[in-house]
Subunit: 445 residues, 2 copies
């Protein structure tokens, strides 16, 4: 008992020096974004008005397998990386399972989630290119808080549009962003044309990531020296997040195991891609047979019930058309507490991988997610974010199967964030006030 | 730049196997507690009705320098220990100081503070002795959350009295305790004789640690198979917390430095003693000359303005009489946000050490504390608890002195907890609504 290792760390010298670009190894490359007006395939240069140039090139890069992490970014990663890989002995015991469950604990970042992994390089590249202001949207506030801090680190001003329902449900997250000096506006707002149009059509609109993206992109493209940044969906964001899986790969080696199943919750795909892609490369290149499971909310099931087609990334239709699994860009997700999963589409890489059956997806009801999160909290001590509860629920399903068959499968999931700022959600759960929302497809006009 | 180490960890095999009992090395031993009725010196057995027996013996142990950490406790420590020792390069740069600043980051515990270090052994010893229910008080909620989780780990029921002002200011902390299955009551309450008497005398009493202790002790002594547990003040709590300083000692060695100054905030003394005593032993035994600074709130200054005398640990006068620096057990501290520092007395070991000039104390105003905390958050990414802000403020004062003299002193402080559940306090600070409370001595009857 006492010699069992619980947590695995890497020395700073082992923190990855390169991100892994899975596009280079994909047989079927992701389709290219298209210009919404001309419908023509886009090039990196077409995105220069919105994003830092370097990020535009990362977005389209289908050839370089390894992208070097700038030294300044690696220096900032040292503030909280490596994050621990944890053997979930407590959870295994609570479940009575034969499975070996591991989780990568991204909640130990000072911002409480994995989002900082991409906020730092995005702010870095903006700064390097002479940008002075950055803008973004945030759902639960995890991304907004991370961008606010990263902006502060590099001396940039940050303006964040926070989805209105989250702004109201999670006031602490707004305070956190303000502590780092960011300006925070609930979205939809009257500060943009997009916001005004949405509020005119639907005065009580509760907001969604799609709506907030419209506002942030509009601000970026109409403000001098200002760039937009995004916390998920896009390929360069997922690229930065591969630091999670690359660390986990080395840490699983320290544990002397290799995952049979890798699981993450799914909003736009960044934490899922981050932990999965480095392992998936061994399926593609080395004949490994690991399964990859994206866990999405039952009320916002783009992977399990969406269509693969070109669609806008935002509600107003400002972004390029992206080839992805989508519920339609006008879809407004139900007000589940997992604000970070309330998004209509999936990133283009994940979409292509799902189409090619290289990954799987499951959907999880809100109450099952909180059942899982509470069981996990009591067993492992960490209160998970509502988003991460979906990954835990999917991991528990797999562990329960092992319990039946007696198999000792190795299950690895990503604990994308903690839920300390989401305690009102847990209060609702314990009071019996949480409901399951079923998926209602958008009405076709 | 890129070869600079930011965080130092210990492998699990290096996590301390013994706690350090400074009482064994003190020339002037702490005076003994006295029975409030007979005024006679007490023995461990006299505390059996209140605490687990093993803890009573640890409380009085003045001879054994090293106390073995039970294997079950060490196994639980692995969930979050070692905590990182961090070189605060960001803060050093923000201050422009020549000092080398380090902090021990106890905020990475799943409960967000150092309190779990003692909650685990206290719950363990209770369980081992056949106790089924534990009770305690909590100020900011950090201790209550830790005890709630530790009780859950060992299958005990927990009842927590939370200081009313904190219960209202920090609702998330109550939710966290409830997530771990604890019953939480705002104190003073009508559920105990002590609470009723206080509310009868002062209907709008906002509560204090002293008041909540009275209620919890009363519940423990009137309920079968129930023991009381305490988050600070007592010598056995400080003993458990020495795991902080013992780790820090090894980690400073990894960093190739030794502290000239060790700083911690001060409520009852557990985090201060925890980080200080292992280093202080080298002052006593090996001729080192490290300074030890306890940072207390200006509005509750028992170390800098209190008297050394026998006093009760609680407001109602249920506890033994303790020889300590005190503001008087009837003193109700001002409603500062650092709820964990709102206590009238100091632990007996720290009191004796201060009397013998082996340690120092400074007081810090509320606004200086939040100035320091905000500077730290922006420089290091971590939003500190209001309590920890006091330690940071004291560390900054020392670093500013180095800036003037050009000295490269090594400053080590304990980051006892994060402030993610205290964002309303930061909101008040940013809104300009925080005030400094001066100390007003209790009225003598």
């Amino acid at each position: 008992m006492s010699n069992r290792t619980k947590r695995y760390f890497l020395p700073e010298s082992e923190i990855p020096t390169h991100w892994y670009n899975i596009q280079a190894d994909m047989i079927n490359k992701p389709l290219l974004p298209r210009n919404p007006s001309t419908k023509e395939e886009m090039k990196p240069e077409d995105l220069y008005p919105i994003f830092a140039k370097e990020l535009c090139h990362q977005e389209f890069d289908q050839t370089n397998r390894w992208i070097e992490i700038p030294e300044e970014v690696r220096e900032m990663y040292k503030y909280y990386r490596s994050t621990p890989l944890v053997r979930a002995y407590g959870l295994e015991k609570a479940l009575g399972t034969t499975a070996h469950i591991y989780f990568k604990n991204e909640s130990v970042s000072p911002m409480g989630s994995h989002k900082l992994n991409s906020a730092i390089p995005q702010a870095y590249y903006c700064k390097k290119e002479g940008v002075t202001n950055v803008t973004t949207e945030t759902g639960a506030g995890q991304w907004g808080a991370s961008l606010a801090y990263a902006a502060k680190l590099f001396g940039l001003e940050a303006a964040v549009y926070q989805v209105k329902i989250s702004y109201e449900q999670k006031p602490y997250r707004r305070s956190i962003m303000q502590t780092y000096g960011a300006q925070v506006t609930p979205s939809p707002s009257m500060s943009t044309r997009a916001g005004k149009e949405i509020l005119t059509a639907t005065p009580n609109h509760q907001g969604s990531l799609g709506t907030a993206i419209s506002e942030a992109v509009e601000l970026a493209t109409t403000t001098p020296n200002c760039k937009y940044t995004l916390g998920s969906v896009l390929s360069h964001v997922t690229l930065h997040q591969t630091v999670i899986g690359l660390e986990a790969e080395k840490q699983m080696e320290l544990a002397g195991e290799y995952p049979d199943v890798v699981i993450a919750c799914f909003g736009g795909g960044s934490n899922f891609g981050g932990i999965s892609f480095p392992f998936l490369r061994h399926n593609i290149l080395d004949g490994k047979t690991t399964r990859f499971i994206a866990a999405e909310p039952a009320s916002c099931p783009k992977l399990t019930k969406g269509e693969f087609r070109y669609d806008f990334g935002d509600e107003a239709g400002y972004t390029p058309l992206l080839p992805m699994y989508t519920l339609g860009h006008k879809f407004t997700p139900a007000n589940i507490h997992a604000g970070g999963l309330r998004y209509h589409g999936a990133g283009v890489i994940v979409s292509q991988l799902l189409k090619d059956s290289l990954i799987e997806a499951v959907d999880v009801d809100q109450i099952e997610a909180f059942d899982a999160g509470t069981l996990f909290a009591r067993a492992e001590g960490i209160i998970p974010a509502p988003e991460s509860c979906h990954a835990i629920a999917a991991a528990i399903r797999e562990a329960e199967k092992c319990k039946e068959t007696g198999e000792e499968k190795v299950i690895l999931f990503n604990l994308s964030g903690h839920g300390l700022i989401d305690m009102t959600a847990y209060d609702s759960y314990f009071a019996g006030n949480l409901v399951n929302y079923s998926y209602e497809p958008e009405k076709k006009d």
